[in-house]
């Protein structure tokens, strides 16, 4: 085959695929809605913000909480000892290998910490909110495990952009736990506010 033809074919193929992707954006956009919403604000201040997986999403949640002027403690690697005088906790789930390496921790160590921390929360009857911001497409195996650990002991779960994983998320929580799905990160503030006010 003519070399120029090969180049044109490859480049036009890439462009065509790209154009199709861009044009089909709205067609494939999922439309999720709240499921078993929180009936009244149950979370009380002060609040402890921690991470399960050490990705950067915790900083987004911290920023939202600060903007909402909710009294909080920000401890990404919180342990049982940090729960004194705490009435509610937010666990931001998302595993990051780089984030853990930055703190010189392994996945196993992080998993153990989260497990112990969640158990302590249950024992101390602290109101636990699990937040997952990354949606169904970025749900890695490690994140799934950590989310499962946190969500099953949570009093409220907020999931952003679940895509096709809605059932997976529902299966992680007990039948009585309220769970809210939001399509967009900009909508996450509302369910957080509803838990406190």
């Amino acid at each position: 085959m003519n070399k120029q033809k090969v180049i044109y074919t490859i480049i036009s193929l890439i462009f065509s695929i790209f154009v199709i992707i861009v044009l089909s954006q709205n067609v494939y956009k999922t439309n999720t809605s709240s499921y078993r919403a929180l009936t009244r604000p149950l979370a009380k201040e002060p609040l402890l913000i921690s991470s399960a997986g050490q990705n950067t999403d915790i900083y987004i949640v911290k920023d939202i909480i600060n903007k909402l002027m909710i009294d909080n403690y920000f401890i990404p690697m919180a342990t049982t000892e940090n729960l004194d005088d705490i009435h509610s906790a937010i666990m931001v789930v998302g595993y990051s290998e780089v984030g853990n390496r930055l703190k010189d921790k392994t996945y196993i160590e992080e998993k153990q910490r989260v497990e112990q921390f969640v158990n302590a929360i249950e024992e101390k009857d602290v109101f636990l909110i699990t937040i997952y911001l990354r949606g169904g497409k970025m749900l890695s195996e490690e994140t799934k495990t950590l989310l499962d650990l946190s969500a099953k002991s949570s009093d409220y779960v907020i999931i952003v952009n679940p895509e096709n994983e809605v059932d997976t998320f529902k299966e992680m929580v007990s039948s009585t736990t309220p769970i809210t799905f939001v399509d967009d990160l900009s909508e996450v503030t509302e369910p957080i506010v509803s838990a406190f006010r």
Binding site: Q25, T56, S96, E97, V98, L185
Partner: protein
Amino acid sequence: MSKFRIIEKTAIVGMTLLFLGFQLPSISEALWFNMVVDVRKAIVNGDSGHLVLTAAIWSIVSMLQGVFLLLGTTIFLGNLVEKISMKLGKVLFQGFSYIIINLVIQEYFFFEIELLTNILAGITTLFLINYVVTEKGYYGRNFVLSLQVFFAFQWLNIMPMLTFYNFGVSDLAGSIKIVSEYLGSTSVLNFIGLAFFISLLFSTLITTFLFLTNDRNIAIAKENYEKQLTLDAMHAKIVQTRVYEEIHTITHDLKTPLVTIRGLNSLLALSKEPEKIMEYTERVDNAAEKMSEMISGFLYEKKRRVVSTEEIIDYVRAQIPLEDESQKITFDFDEHLPLLYINKVRVSRAIINVIENAILVQTIKPIKKIHIRVYDNNGYLIIEIEDNGIGISKSQMEKIWEVGYSTKATTGLGLAFVRKVIEDNNGTVSMSSEENEGTLVKITLPNETMVDQEE
């Protein structure tokens, strides 16, 4: 032995690149930590600029890893791939191996890679390498092409609009996109990603065409060089043929006195009268001297002596066929013609050559006419040979004096020899021609007093 060394060498290069690909995240760990810190800063400060910068650094590091892995795979498998004759087979074999390596990294290494992007960029690069840069060992070209393709595709990973299609689902690419969503700058990242993707793809296109053009130019230059070599060889052959032709004519010239000697010798055998014997012996001696003179004339180009124009004319007339009825050769000589200081044999041969050309040339006229005019012009002897042949075109006129140039339809035969001989004897030769009308050759020679005889 050397073949094994080459295989060993490529295997080592391939392994080194693969090792770099596997270890790049560990080597650049500090860079990754900085990127995480930058993402945090972007959230805290609400600064999209930090985010774009992080996206660029992430794209570069990911691109390098992808390039190392792909080139490592292709070089490592190089000799195995050479055994596959079909290009598509090569692409599939290399592509399959590359995908396996990516899956191994995904499964067993701590570092998350963008599988979809790496595969797409890898396959695109493999197609370009195998279908466009087909020469083996063009590692530099492969590197330049793969850098551009991988860099283009890495920008797709930071576009939030493509998350749905599994682009940019690894840890840091995901962080960048989530934060951009939080800061309300998804459109910025979408635009930057798209702009870089299209620009880099366009740059790949241009680079590929440059490589193609370069290849084509080299091929043309090679072809031209080979053509030139063939032409030179042909030219040398033609020159050799001309030399043989000259030798042939000289031999022919020498035959005339030889025939005379043989004839006189036969007469000598029959003669009994001493006067006749004396006369024949004298004529044999003259013929032998003439022969010796001719041989000397050809052997020693610079050997010259004072000769009368009449002597030259007689010599020339003796050599040309005048009895052909299809042509009419006319002569026109002035009465007082100068003495010349020339190499008689060579100059005569040159004049004969010109006349023979006029005889050989075709004509569209009913009768071939050749007019030879000899006259004195202010001490210069002018010899004009004019024919009514088909003439010479302007384009041929420029080449007619070149050594080896000849066309049987024109008076081109041996003209290089003519010019050389005339110029060697201080003369000039010129030619004018009109197509289908005829050709005029003008030879000018200075008289003996105008030439420095000490030369």
